[in-house]
């Protein structure tokens, strides 16, 4: 089943209310037995004695949305999932705020654990998103995934 290309990017941080609401929407899907949610949150890392206050995310959005789509298709093929949602911030996300929200659901728990880790690792490696870590003194450096 081919799914249409979605825009994964949301402007600014992903709110806890949005996440709660997304969970609520799944209560009508009564074949689901297990949900697994990953949230990436911006850390106040200290780098050379300067503290990160925000990350400004940019992306090659056209390519990124294609990559998210590929990851989604691959995950649906590999795992028995009922549904899957991915949201990533673009623009400024302050420390303590959420920049990535991945949500998978399945009849069975074993599937969601495997699927969620697979999806998050693929996002880190495959998706052209760039992060400018902004320090208190407004200087910055570019984040690299490890």
């Amino acid at each position: 089943m081919e799914r249409t290309l979605k825009n994964v990017f949301v402007k600014g941080p992903i709110s806890s209310a949005f996440i709660g609401n997304s969970i609520a929407k799944h209560q009508s899907k009564t074949t689901i037995g297990a949900h697994n949610i990953f949230l990436g949150q911006v850390r106040a890392d200290v780098i050379n004695e300067k503290t990160v206050t925000a990350i400004d995310y940019s992306a090659y959005e056209d390519m990124a949305n294609e990559k998210f789509h590929e990851i989604r298709e691959d995950a649906f093929k590999k795992f028995n999932l009922t549904c899957m949602h991915i949201y990533h911030s673009s623009g400024r996300v302050n420390v303590g705020e959420i920049c990535l929200f991945v949500f998978v659901s399945s009849p069975r728990r074993k599937e969601v654990f495997k699927a969620l880790e697979y999806i998050v690792e693929r996002i880190k490696v495959d998706v052209p998103v760039f992060g400018k870590e902004i320090f208190e003194d407004t200087s910055h450096q570019w984040k690299t995934n490890t």
Binding site: M63, I123, V125, P128, V129, F130, G131, K132, N145
Partner: protein
């Protein structure tokens, strides 16, 4: 021929633009890069990969698309 080149993240800081259109006669990515290194000498020291029409390509790939992108290390999530 005309080609759009997109720059992202730390690369766009170095080029001082996010996108430019160039006329080119080169056949491979590495040929084109030689010209870009002339224009932006610091680019040589940067870590980046190249996408052609939104797919990663190697340096010896032929230029066949409309859009190239220089992509520094990814930092999603």
């Amino acid at each position: 021929m005309e080609l759009t080149i997109k720059y992202f993240g730390m690369i766009s800081e170095l080029t001082s633009c996010e996108e430019e259109k160039i006329l080119f006669e080169q056949t491979t990515i590495s040929e084109l890069l030689k010209d870009l290194f002339k224009k932006y000498p610091d680019l040589k020291n940067k870590d980046f990969r190249i996408a052609q029409d939104r797919k990663l390509v190697s340096l010896d790939s032929l230029i066949s698309g409309q859009e190239l992108a220089l992509l520094p290390p990814f930092a999603g999530g």
